[in-house]
Symmetry: C2
Subunit: 216 residues, 2 copies
Amino acid sequence: MAAPTTEALVDLLGMVAYGELSAFERMAADARLAPDLHRRAALSEMAAVEIANYGRLAARLTEIGADPDVAMTPYVGVVQAYHDSTEPKDWLEALTKAHVGDGVADDFFHEMAKLIEEPDRQLVLDVIHDKRYEEFAVTEIRAAIEADPKTRARLSMWARRLVGEVYSQATRVAGQRAALTTLIVTSGGDQAAVQALFRRITNAHSARMTALGLNN
Amino acid sequence: MAAPTTEALVDLLGMVAYGELSAFERMAADARLAPDLHRRAALSEMAAVEIANYGRLAARLTEIGADPDVAMTPYVGVVQAYHDSTEPKDWLEALTKAHVGDGVADDFFHEMAKLIEEPDRQLVLDVIHDKRYEEFAVTEIRAAIEADPKTRARLSMWARRLVGEVYSQATRVAGQRAALTTLIVTSGGDQAAVQALFRRITNAHSARMTALGLNN
């Protein structure tokens, strides 16, 4: 397995850091859509976990001699484009977006973590490991589908749109970040390994949809 | 000095808790107005402190047998009315709003803390004690005024509007929360003590304006 270049590592940590910062902002904004104070506070508290994770990644980037702002900058445009094209209309769309979109991103980061060395591997695994939000989202979405079965079709369609947007923005990133793309392509050793990586991500997405009670 | 009733204590802790939850939301939203990633992350990290404070207050309310959501509910409308009537147009207005508006609220909470017993007194003092944000806001606003002196008149006017709105919403709360109002009116012992309390709040506001380089 090829060791990642420093450039690829900075690219990766910058991407995860910006992912955490954006997740904080999105969850904090989505909390305003919550139907009651209890859920509003719960989501706000979960958002705070993301910003603490961001802090760890920014500190690590600084430690390896990189400027966190510079490392994150390449991802600002694509994440903005993603959010602009997938503005949730209500609480359930917001939860589905966070769960499905962040789910795919987390699975990708998990695969990438396997390609880097310690202590960065563990750091990336740590920041994607918070499952509290996942359980919260699944419970809310399943309850909503049970209360109104028409919700299933609407949210299934929404989730399909979301994941399509995630993939198209990811393709944009792949075209722009050569070091990162090289890391993925060379690390597995051959084409089959790379295909297997993407198959794992796709399968995890299908499993998540099923767990939500949504059609894939 | 009259000891506060449980009702007054729940009113007060509910108000401070909702203040923290709202401060989190507002700072998280304002972070999007930041001119660069560094400031955006800094404000987001400060927002996370507010939600941690919220958690302490909610836990204490639960401990004394109150439902945090019920205790916070009376303040949702006035805080919303305040935010609706004072929507910042840009980063500097957002910072001024947070610093001036939260400043007055914090001074009021500080005065109220004196009227309650331990451990609630220390809890209220703890959650208003974070000065990181204050220094950040003062530095940013002073630098902006130095860079463009016209900013002074604009932000001075804005701050006057803000504090007027704070006072009018506070008056609405005073009319609605009898236990809390009774605590303030009876605690000082006489009318002069109550007037002194409000004079301290007004003086602190003037000092804050001067520190910002704004006209009062």
